[in-house]
């Protein structure tokens, strides 16, 4: 498809916006069924140990209680799939499997009652006796285990020894949480021994696979629906414990059961972004050219058993640091530190958001050390191929992003000296960083169906993929309307249902790149079949007319996107350049971001409206990552200190800077897929935090290496810094 298509890349109206602004969009927790019962949970009060006894007597007496599940009476559940690509659970051990406690808040009992109030109250009456055991909840207190797979090229150690300029710094990121605004919710309902689940998920097929295995059913007998999901950011990939329990309870009660996690349960039981401690060692020539990069990451994982049983989760920080810059010698080491916390998971731009915090920070330090402009340093180390595999990028325009971003921001007016700009009580600083995210694409299929209607045709596009607010509804409508040359009103999109053609989980910014080309392929097939009924090759295509001629009331085709073949010749990657202005009032510990400019190469943009929103949202995710968000666990009592939205601080309206996002036009990655799109869901976050820290350094000459950059951290750094 050429980029001159009438609709591709233009701003469309988000097609589901109307039902969202009228309150008609049905999210999982909005589903009401006759006879619905409500669940509440009892979470472990200890971080490690055993449950000795669960006394449910008082709870059972409470009004409206229908069922209480504990590990004593939960009943059998089959083995859950994990790692085989069909579905994922946070813990291979199903919920309420035994008496073992691995983290505070772990579900130890489920109460189901007639009303949510009754369920919550009864849950508070369940008495649990524990045998506590010692625990570790702070990554700095735990011992690390080295992972065996060490990506390396060249000889880092030798290069580090010999280099004229070296940097050796420690950067850290705290536990942060995807924390979508919609709490995780499930309604489970058995209909004639088949299971129907409305779930707040990123992956209906993953849910289906897990639930089918858990209950010993064939996949067809489990239907999962998620037409609307209130954000996810990685946290709804796994089939949650409460989803399984809702299905167990619904079967036991022969009634539908609704289970909505409380915000505190979301924040303590749904896996967060792992904490990291990252050591970056750089070796460079005096002109800034990198000679060596060594990246040592410690990140936390679940308990020791997670390490022993199978692949532990680790924050993949080196995924990006190994490919980004031209550098002959590279080595990455990962240690995992088991903690008594819910198993970490993915959060928007896993690896990139954390890895670039460290790498881009270290580069900013190298720039200062070498007396180079941070942007010039990036340019000098630019690589037009994947620096690790050596594969050339099929389509790569990072230099252009740097240049346009710098121009839009006014970077050339930057006086390199820290403390060079002041406005009233505030120091002003300018910083920048590279943004990057790999192009991902997975097998997907989409059905496009044409129905003959009065006055023309109507098109229905359907796939099991999910729109998390990411714009998939709109992107598919745009692609299909464009391919069939129909007005947008004639297109309906159906998503988030296991009965629809299979699609991958929404994750890794993959979905548009996987599904949109499949939709295009389906349209191409339909066109071909219908165009056969033209009377002359130059006759214009009127689908209604052609359907009539074919004697058909409707016609449909399925289009697919294949798996990426092994041994692709090219690499596919999105890039961007992000520039930030901050105002710092040092004595108040105050850092405010006032301006962010980002220019991105994300391949061909399918829909400009939702792409812009994705990029803006990504930037704000970065602002939260940089300034506000952290989950601390009291190392003595294991209390999750930030287990609500007054403690786990998300950016609010007043934190929002002026944001200018732009993408390069006409840069389709045509060997990646037929449309040339790569997806823009995550890249927006990736350079923000390091650019902010770079700007803070420029403002006041103080280097901050631990996220988030809170007032206490800034004050502490100032106290240590010789400048103030």
């Amino acid at each position: 498809m050429s980029t001159t298509s009438p609709r591709i890349g233009r701003p469309a109206e988000r097609i589901e916006a109307r039902i969202k602004v009228t309150g008609q969009a049905r999210y999982a927790a909005d589903v009401v069924l006759p006879g619905l019962a409500h669940a509440a949970y009892v979470g472990s009060a200890i971080a490690c140990g055993r449950v000795l006894a669960v006394d449910t007597a008082r709870a059972e007496q409470a009004g409206g209680v229908l069922l209480i599940l504990t590990h004593d009476n939960r009943g059998p559940l089959g083995d859950l799939p994990n790692g085989d690509g069909t579905g994922l659970t946070p813990d291979p051990r199903p919920p309420l499997a035994d008496d073992r406690i691995d983290y505070r808040g772990q579900i130890v009992a489920m109460v189901v009652a007639e009303s949510p109030e009754q369920a919550a109250h009864a849950a508070s009456l369940v008495e649990v006796r524990y045998e506590p055991a010692p625990f570790v909840v702070d990554i700095d207190d735990g011992a690390g285990t080295r992972l065996s797979d060490v990506p390396r090229r060249g000889d880092c150690a030798a290069a580090l020894r010999a280099a004229p300029v070296t940097i050796d710094v420690l950067y850290s990121t705290p536990i942060q949480h995807p924390c979508p605004l919609e709490p995780h919710a499930t309604v489970a309902h058995w209909v004639d021994h088949d299971l129907v689940v409305y779930d707040s998920t990123q992956w209906v097929l993953g849910d289906q696979a897990v639930l089918a295995r858990a209950f010993g059913l064939s996949n067809e007998r489990v239907r999962v629906l998620a037409p609307f999901v209130g954000g996810s950011f990685g946290s709804k990939v796994f089939t949650a414990a409460h989803t399984l329990l809702a299905a167990v309870a619904a079967r036991r009660l022969e009634r539908p059961v609704k289970s909505v996690l409380r915000r505190s349960e979301v924040l303590t039981t749904v896996g967060p972004r792992a904490a990291t401690r990252q050591r970056i060692q750089l070796a460079a020539e005096r002109d800034g050219r990198l000679i060596a990069l060594r990246h040592h990451t410690r990140s936390h994982c679940a308990t020791e058993r997670d390490v022993a049983d199978r692949d532990p989760f680790y924050e993949p920080t080196s995924g990006i640091t190994r490919v980004l810059y031209a550098c002959p010698n590279y080595e990455a080491v990962h240690d995992v530190v088991p903690l008594h916390l819910a198993k970490p998971g993915w959060m928007r731009a896993p690896g990139e958001a954390t890895g670039l915090w460290a790498l881009e920070g270290a580069l900013d330090e190298l720039a200062c050390e070498s007396g180079l402009d941070p942007l010039a340093l990036r340019m000098r180390n630019h690589s037009s191929r994947d620096a690790h595999t050596g594969k050339p990028y099929a389509s790569e325009h990072l230099r252009e992003c740097y240049e346009r971003g710098a121009e839009r921001f006014g970077w050339s007016r930057r006086e390199p000296r820290p403390r060079s700009m002041r406005d009233g009580d505030a120091w002003i600083g300018w910083g920048m960083a590279t943004a990057a995210h790999p192009g991902n694409r997975d097998p997907a299929s989409v059905r496009v169906r044409l129905d003959r209607e009065r006055g023309g045709v109507h098109v229905t596009v359907a796939t099991a993929g999910i729109d998390l607010g990411t714009g998939l509804y709109t992107a598919l409508a745009v692609v299909v309307a464009d391919a069939l040359d129909l007005p947008g009103e004639r297109v309906t999109v159906e998503l988030g249902d296991t009965r629809l053609p299979p699609a991958p989980m929404t994750g890794g910014s993959n979905l548009t790149a996987s599904v949109a080309p499949a939709a295009l392929a389906a349209c191409t097939r339909l066109r071909r079949r219908l165009l056969a009924f033209r009377r002359a090759p130059d006759e214009s295509a009127d689908w209604a007319e052609l359907l009539d001629r074919a004697g058909l009331g409707d016609i449909e085709a399925i289009g697919t996107t294949d798996a990426r073949p092994p041994g692709e010749r090219h690499a596919h990657h999105s890039f961007g350049a992000q520039f930030v202005e901050v105002r710092v009032v040092p004595e108040l510990g105050r850092i405010r971001v006032t301006r962010v400019v980002g220019v991105f190469d994300v391949g061909q943009v399918v829909d400009a409206t939702t792409t812009r929103s994705q990029l803006l949202g990504g930037v704000l995710f970065g602002v939260g990552q940089a300034l506000l968000e952290q989950q601390v666990h009291d190392p003595v009592h294991a209390l999750p200190v930030h287990a609500d939205l007054a403690g786990y601080l998300l950016p609010c309206h007043a934190d929002v800077p002026d944001i200018d996002v732009e993408w390069l036009d006409a840069v389709p990655d045509v060997t990646f897929n037929a449309i040339g799109c790569r997806g823009a869901g995550e890249i927006g976050i990736t350079g923000v935090a390091p650019a902010i820290a770079s700007a803070v350094h420029h403002a006041i000459g103080v280097r901050l290496r631990d996220l988030p950059l809170t007032p206490d951290r800034l004050l502490a750094a100032l106290a240590e810094s010789p400048r103030e």
């Binding site: 919550a120 009592h637 601080l649 609010c652 007043a654 206490d712 004050l715």
Partner: protein, 329 residues
């Protein structure tokens, strides 16, 4: 939430008597503090007596004072033009806290009677003397970034979070109450909130069933030049890391009188009389303000993670005074 009965208060006397008579009854005003804590299982009243429809919703003003009904909404108080003119610190304190929605719901009395945000207080599994007397204080060995640096005791270090109360502390405010047994009290705001000592479960001197009916702000010349300055992690919708309510009476560049109270760092609204004293007769300039700020924090005690609050609060005091002194007057 535990089941409870809901009673709509009919008159001030009845409402007070109703709570007085039932040990596990509580007053309900805007509900933004109490419903939150009931959901957490921190409070479990057997009965709620709703005071919102009692005739306590008006602000009456004359030359000598403002008489503010206990059930006046915080938004209503903040928007009142005469409050804004005569006691600007009240408005600024209110607008620096909560959100517009919460200010629309919550009442003046509810605000000064809100409980601490200490995470251990809010978690029923944790040891907390304020929630369960005698159970211990988890903060002493736990996460103390949010803990008080002033007014703490070995039994409790919880910050009292109200912004409004910090402002009231410099205004010679008076709390009027009606007791469950029919009596009435007039309580100077200065002594209204208690230090935790060894009974941190009691935040104020109110007795069970004692209903706050009004707050009184006496007319105070110095209050016309008053100001609230607050620092928080997030740019809005967040509690104070440190805040200061200040008032200045200036004459030809010199301080005739000053008022200073700290919020976000102490176990109760924290009036700094020594610091105020130090400013009298001094030039209204940075050096005097710095000296006053040092005095205000002189007794502060840092723990593991909250030491920054001392430094921060100093700067907050200096900043609040400097901004105020620079105001045309």
């Amino acid at each position: 939430m535990r089941p409870f009965t809901y009673v709509e208060g009919i008159s001030v006397a009845d409402a007070a008597a109703a709570v007085h008579a039932a040990p596990a009854a509580m007053f309900l005003a805007g509900g933004t503090a109490i419903v939150d804590l009931m959901k957490l299982g921190v409070l479990a009243p057997a009965a709620l007596v709703d005071v919102q429809r009692l005739p306590l919703g008006d602000i009456e003003l004359d030359d000598r004072r403002a008489r503010i009904g206990a059930c006046v909404r915080n938004a209503q108080l903040a928007e009142h033009p005469e409050i804004r003119a005569r006691w600007p610190v009240v408005r600024e304190a209110l607008l620096s806290g909560m959100s517009a929605q919460l200010r629309n719901m919550s009442t003046v009395a509810g605000n000064i009677l809100q409980r601490t945000r200490c995470p251990y207080y809010r978690d029923p599994h944790s040891a907390c003397n304020k929630r369960v007397p005698g159970s211990g204080c988890a903060v002493q060995t736990g996460w103390d970034r949010d803990a008080a640096v002033l007014g703490g005791s070995p039994h409790c270090l919880a910050v009292f979070p109200s912004d409004l109360a910090t402002a009231l502390a410099i205004l010679d405010a008076i709390v009027y109450t009606r007791r469950g047994d029919g009596g009435a009290r007039r309580l100077p705001f200065d002594g209204f909130h208690r230090l935790p000592g060894d009974t941190p479960e009691r935040d104020t001197v109110l007795d069970h069933g004692e209903l706050v009916t009004h707050l009184e702000l006496p007319d105070l010349a110095i209050a016309r030049r008053s100001h609230y300055f607050k620092v928080r992690d997030r740019a809005s919708y967040d509690f104070a890391l440190a805040s200061a309510a200040v008032a200045l009476d200036l004459e030809r560049g010199h301080v005739r009188d000053a008022r200073i109270a700290l919020g976000g760092v102490a176990t109760r609204p924290w009036r700094c009389t020594a610091a105020e004293q130090s400013l009298r007769g001094k030039r209204a300039e940075l050096a005097s303000f710095r000296a006053a700020a040092d005095l205000a924090l002189a007794d502060a005690v840092a723990r593991t993670h909250n030491g920054f609050k001392i430094e921060l609060a100093r700067h907050v005091v200096v900043r609040a005074l400097s901004e105020l002194a620079a105001r045309p007057g």
